[in-house]
Amino acid sequence: MPESPIALPGQERFVAAVEETPLADTGSFDDTGSPENQWQEAWKQLRSNWLFWVSAAILSVVTIVVCFPQLFTDIDPTYADLSRSLDGPSKGHIAGFDKQGYDVFARTIYGARASVLVGLFATLVVTLPGVLLGAFAGFYGGITDTLVSRIADIFFAIPLLLGALVGISVINNLWPNRGYWASIFTVVFALAAFGWPQVVRIARGSVLEVKNLEFVNAARAIGKTRRANLWGHVVPNSMSAVIVLATVSLGVYIVAEATLSFLGLGLPPGVVSWGNDLAAAQVQVRSGIRLGVMFWPATALAITSLGFILLGDAISDALDSKSRNRE
């Protein structure tokens, strides 16, 4: 080390007075406020995001419409008055009538239920087994992983809509004239059959990442069984990505249902749904007369799916900023 006996100007010995320095106890921690775990912190983050409030507003309206459509209109959506076919908006009928003489506004309101239910059930049916399979594949690895992953790959290779189309046509041939719920669940399972591989992939990826973290090893070292570790530590910590995916999927499946119905293979014509109304309004688009017939269900569909996708985005931001702040 070089010697420097006489300090140069500006380099003299300087010692700050202890009172002026933040030499607080290094062991202290902020004990104000209530404890916050990861989810509570994410929730706080979420609440500070405009995207969340916009999507929450959209989705609350949608939820009320789905549960209590009669609050918004007292017109029966299945009552057709052919004499008013394609009539424009008038008092009590703000959106006018479609070709069959149905009230367009009433059908848009009542159509929400079928569309949203399909999205909701499809997401549930896809997510639960998807997480289960993905978690097993990622956690146990080896032959379990190979089997699950390869089967998922096979289904992943089939386009969602094409697969669902074929599936529904087969069921339509075997079991025509199903009731309301049977029709809805046909669409749900047709979509789910080709949608689950994505959940498996995401869940498997997250589990692979989490299972090698030190707290999992520490839990093994205290004698926790592998299964207890999987459900107690690994799966709860892998949920972020799955939650985001599920939220976005809700919007995607609602659109997928509408597409199927538009192609004439989704919900049967008897069921009031946005997809069916869009299909019926095709003629108007071609002729260019009374585009309003298509405008209403199309807008409702777009806003609803937008709501879910925005919410997915906001949740993703909230959970991500959590992981960014960790270090």
């Binding site: 010995r13 004990d31 030190e214 090893n217 520490a218 070292a221 205290i222 004698g223």
Partner: protein
């Protein structure tokens, strides 16, 4: 006659704005550097040392900005200077060697081209001339076979070689000042020493002033003429390096010096360690007798608690084709005995296989061959849940990364209680009392119990990890780099805690580390590993005083600040 300062920072204030709130990162820092001098800023993470350096070179990240004070470089004000002025200074007048050699080179561009870029941007040389200059610079930075190396991509370089390339880049335009931001903290100690020695020589020859940013007081004292100690954004002490070390006035610097293992371990009283060991061994023997009397599977081994015989682990790694398998021997024929109530340290640089040994001892990884005996029982012969749990109860780990060793979704209470619950020990209220006692043992207030890991600092989390490891009242604790990720002050606290607990509870420690300086503080015996093989084994005193192997000697020489005399 006094020379004029090259850099004069006066009362520097830096703030980051975070959602409309200003967070002060540096408050009133002042420092002066003269031409050709080496000045070091020392501080823990979060002390504002890197922020100060980045403010000087105008590279504050994100929302950071200089809110007050002045930075005079060569008589020019460069704090909040306009872009043109900063660009003229950056690179050509002030060079930077960044911290992480792994992420500071573009992996898609040849190393030589990246250095040539630095030359061209600063108008030093272009085209063919630049290429020739690059080779000279790399040679100067101590890279053998520089002409060929310049044509390679960063992934073909080792960490040390990359750091040399970055030094070449920082010195490319012959700046007057070189800022080296933790230039070697990502490297193994032996490489660190080579690089710093070389940097010293080079900057002396070229007459470049160096601003060295480091958390390692020993290293700073060894390399710098003038030290600036920072803590939480403030300069708490500055002055000539020797003066600070030998005549410490400031409370923080005092604590820092006392904590820095490389400096303190010289003076750490050997009797102190002996004392701890004797107390621990006594308690440990009593415990062993009790366990044996209770008729457990364990408690037969008496003197030796863990014995490892010819332990070998071979990993198969994919070769050039899917059907090709290469074998990689991570651990090669390691044997040692851990005596009850003592500490055995396994030391090695990254990739030496020391953590693999820990995982095999913990029975988290099956050895390819060899035997791990715990208390006279071969661990691999344990059968059934009952025996497994009994074994787990006796041996517990504490891992390296305080940010990953606790489940972020578990409250502290739940994390510490988890082992008790898993082993179905006690009623709910008994478990609560036990957690209370454990937190108390590691000097944490009871109020942390309801908090979550993300609300605690690294040192506090590591205390929680220690509390959890002790919940089952084990006889042996495996500490896998348990203090490596912590700042020196916190590291010293944890080491002291571990020593106290050892004396009180008669624990035996297997201490895995890359840091020889720490070993001296806590261990009784040491085993040095290199590339999976055992290099040397013996008592800490004999290995430190008379290392038999060349490799051990090199490791010891590389401890920064190891030779500085401290007044006691």
């Amino acid at each position: 006659m006094n020379p004029t300062p090259l850099l004069q920072v006066t009362d520097l204030q830096v703030a980051f704005s975070q959602e409309k709130i200003e967070v002060q990162a540096v408050r009133g820092a002042s420092l002066t550097i003269y031409p050709g001098q080496t000045v070091a800023i020392v501080g823990e993470s979060g002390s504002g040392k890197s922020t100060t350096a980045h403010a000087i070179i105008g590279l504050l990240p994100g929302t950071g900005r200089v809110t007050g004070g002045s930075i005079l470089f060569d008589g020019q004000e460069i704090a909040n200077a306009d872009k043109k002025k900063i660009l003229a200074v950056r690179g050509s007048e002030i060079g930077l060697v960044p911290q992480d050699p792994m992420s500071n080179l573009n992996p898609l561009i040849r190393v030589g081209k990246q250095i040539a870029e630095a030359l061209e941007v600063n108008g030093v040389a272009t085209g063919k001339e630049a290429d020739r200059r690059v080779v000279e610079l790399l040679e100067e930075a101590g890279l053998p076979d520089a002409a060929r190396r310049a044509q390679q991509y960063p992934h073909e370089f080792s960490g040390g070689m990359r750091q040399r390339a970055l030094i070449a880049m920082g010195l490319a335009a012959r700046p007057k000042l070189l800022i080296a931001d933790e230039p070697t903290s990502a490297l193994d100690v032996t490489v660190q020493k080579q690089i710093l020695d070389h940097l010293d020589r080079l900057t002396d020859e070229l007459g470049v002033a160096v601003l060295l940013i480091t958390h390692d007081l020993g290293l700073a004292a060894e390399r710098a003429d003038h030290l600036v100690v920072m803590y939480k954004g403030q300069v708490v002490e500055s002055g000539p390096a020797l003066e600070i070390l030998q005549d410490r006035l400031d409370d923080y610097s005092k604590r820092l010096i006392a904590s820095a293992p490389s400096l303190a371990s010289q003076r750490l009283l050997a009797q102190n360690r002996t004392h701890i060991r004797e107390a621990a061994q006594e308690v440990a023997e009593e415990t062993a007798d009790e366990v044996a009397a209770a008729g457990s599977e364990f408690g037969r081994g008496k003197e030796t608690i863990i014995e490892v015989k010819n332990l070998t682990k071979v990993f198969t790694i994919p070769g050039g084709a899917p059907w090709d398998k290469n074998e990689f021997t991570a651990v090669d024929d390691i044997s040692f005995k851990l005596r009850r109530g003592t500490t055995m340290a396994i030391v090695g640089e990254s990739g030496s296989g020391k953590s693999t040994v820990a995982n095999m001892v913990l029975d988290l990884l099956k050895p390819t061959s060899g035997v791990v005996e715990f208390d006279g029982v071969d661990v691999s012969t344990l059968k059934g849940k009952h025996q497994q749990l009994a074994f787990r109860r006796q041996m517990q780990p504490v891992f390296q990364n305080p940010y990953a060793s606790l489940d972020p979704q578990y409250s502290i209470f739940r994390s510490v209680e988890e082992p008790l619950r898993t082993h179905a020990i006690g009623s709910k209220s008994e478990r609560e009392a036990k957690v209370r006692e454990l937190l108390d043992k590691v000097s944490l207030p009871w109020s942390v119990a309801r908090r979550y890991p993300s609300e605690l600092s690294g040192g506090q989390r590591q205390r929680v990890a220690v509390a959890r490891a002790l919940a089952l009242e084990p006889e042996a604790v495996i500490l896998d780099e348990a203090v490596s990720a912590l700042d020196v002050l916190v590291q010293a606290q944890i080491l002291k805690l571990l020593a106290d607990l050892q004396a009180e509870l008669g624990l035996s420690y297997l201490f895995i580390t890359h840091d020889l300086a720490v070993v001296r503080q806590i261990a009784d015996e040491v085993l040095v590993m290199e590339k999976g093989k055992m290099v040397e084994r013996g008592s800490v005193d004999s290995v430190f005083v008379n290392p038999e192997q060349e490799y051990t000697r090199r490791l010891l020489d590389a401890i920064p600040g190891g030779t500085i005399e401290l007044s006691s």
